[in-house]
């Protein structure tokens, strides 16, 4: 209990003093995870919708695989991205290992299946409602997907936020591909792992509370922007 109190105190000190290192790793955490969420949403939302409105052979198999990939172990993704981008690997010439770009790539792989799966589920229900209408209006496939994505946007925000939540709290993959380099690839989660290794539990917990607060702030900001969950509106 005392450790947790000390952690809260440490978090307060860090935030109030606007500790330069804290600001740096927090900004990088946000940059990596928000970019990964944007890219994964750009892939996952249309993919999920496409899977909901189309019928093709092996559809069930594809969807089951997608759902299973939601549980992809980050440490395995990290290892695969590491091997691919290592100087001795196929993409080694790009020199991307131990950079934020490599961290973004790993996180996109981890969260795209989550966003696509939730999107698929949401759009499937919407499609069963809209199906007759959209077909009678002679819409093209592209128009149908666009209409469904737009009308399901509130629920789809949850899909993206679920992806963001996994990304911002993830440590296994970015530790491997980023390397936790001070002033280069250190983010909140890898800094927490480092402080724990030093036995500095108060600092580790302090950073943990900052991470939780950050996740809440991002979710709140999105709700404000999209005008959802306000007192006066349903």
């Amino acid at each position: 209990m005392n450790d947790i109190a000390q952690g809260l105190w440490q978090a307060l000190i860090l935030v109030v003093s606007l500790d330069a290192d804290l600001v740096e790793i927090t900004v990088l955490s946000l940059r990596v995870s928000l970019t990964a969420t944007l890219i994964a949403s750009a892939i996952g939302l249309p993919l999920g919708a496409w899977l909901a409105v189309n019928r093709f052979p092996l559809r069930r198999g594809v969807i089951a695989t997608l759902n299973a990939l939601m549980g992809l172990p980050p440490v395995v993704v990290g290892l695969i991205v590491y091997v691919l981008f290592s100087r001795s690997g196929p993409f080694g010439v790009l020199g991307l290992l131990f950079t934020p770009t490599a961290m973004i790539i790993a996180q996109v792989i981890i969260i795209t299946p989550i966003i696509a799966s939730i999107t698929h589920q949401t759009i499937r229900e919407l499609w069963s409602e809209y199906r007759d209408l959209l077909i009678s209006l002679h819409t093209t496939r592209r128009q149908r997907i666009a209409a469904l994505l737009w009308d399901g946007r509130r629920a789809l925000m949850t899909a993206s936020l679920a992806g963001f939540g996994r990304a911002i709290g993830e440590v296994g993959a970015i530790m491997i591909v980023g390397g936790n380099i001070d002033h280069a690839t250190r983010v909140l989660t890898t800094a927490i792992a480092l402080e724990t290794g030093k036995g500095a539990f108060d600092m580790a917990l302090g950073l943990g509370f900052v991470l939780i607060a950050l996740a809440i702030a991002v979710n709140l900001a999105l709700h404000m922007v999209s005008n959802t969950e306000r007192g006066a509106r349903w």
């Binding site: 928000l34 690997g89 290794g197």
Partner: protein, 269 residues
């Protein structure tokens, strides 16, 4: 309007910071070099003098050598002489320069059920742990410390196994955390132990045997195998780490009044 503000914030957050013109090199180092605080004492000074920023990847010696072999780092600082020699023999590096040494220490619960503190040699100390069946946390990660630990067991003629021997496969800090929580014995380098903040009931019980000697060496990655390595920056680092400036900084680095590392490079005149 609000949407536009958010879009701007997002863009600002996602945009990559401008790349700087200064030289950046990557060094894989053992946990002790970074966790003890020595890196902070040396590298800012090196940067000041040369304009070269050294990015540190803090890993075990085994992983550091693997990273070097793959060309993912420019230079390695490790403490596993046998593995380093094998690595050099494979042609992965250009040379091995000894920089400094410290020693390993045996830490354990303060009440010391296996009476390690009363042992006269390191070998006797670990034999006592094994015979008492006292909990022992092993790094189990092919790090320099893990290799040194196995060398001790081997010299004592013991093949450690059983419920008392816990190999955790993690770094020195995690091993010390685990030992503190389980009231177990473990082998640590002195630097990490002195800098460690979560000791709880742990105490330093045995040290001083020459068998616990711990040599750190610098190993540049071979540019013939990996043309992209910053060989010039590495050469300057090697020169600087064996200079009198580095000697003063390393020998002058204390924690709780104890000198953590001892410079023993051949100083270039």
């Amino acid at each position: 309007m609000r949407l536009r503000t958010l879009a701007l914030v997002l863009l600002a957050a996602c945009a990559a910071p401008a790349a700087s013109a200064e030289t950046v090199m990557r060094m894989a180092v053992t946990t002790s070099f970074a966790n003890s605080g020595l890196a902070e004492a040396l590298l800012p000074r090196f940067r000041e003098e040369t304009g070269i920023t050294v990015q540190l990847l803090i890993v075990g010696s085994g992983q550091a050598l693997t990273m070097g072999a793959a060309g993912d780092v420019d230079v390695i600082l490790s403490h596993d002489p046998q593995a380093e020699a094998a690595w050099l023999a494979e042609g992965y590096g250009t040379e091995r320069r000894e920089i400094m040494y410290n020693d390993f220490v045996i830490v354990g619960p303060r009440d010391d059920p296996a009476d390690v503190a009363g042992a006269s040699t390191a070998s006797q100390a670990i034999v006592r742990i094994a015979e008492a069946g006292a909990l022992f946390v092993s790094r189990g990660d092919e790090s320099g410390t893990h290799v040194a630990e196995r060398r001790l067991w081997h010299a004592a003629g013991i093949e450690p196994s059983g419920a008392w021997y816990r190999a955790i496969g993690q770094g020195m800090g995690a091993a010390l955390n685990t030992a503190a929580a389980m009231e177990a014995y473990t082998l640590s380098d002195r630097g990490t132990w002195l800098a460690f903040e979560n000791r709880r009931g742990l105490a330093l019980l045995f040290s001083g045997d020459p068998a616990l000697f711990n040599q750190y060496a610098l190993l540049p990655v071979n540019p013939e195998r990996h043309p992209h390595v910053r060989a010039e920056a590495v050469a300057r680092l090697a020169e600087w780490l064996t200079s009198q400036t580095a000697q003063t900084l390393i020998d002058g680095f204390h924690r709780d009044g104890v000198q953590l590392f001892h410079f023993n490079a051949h100083v270039a005149q």
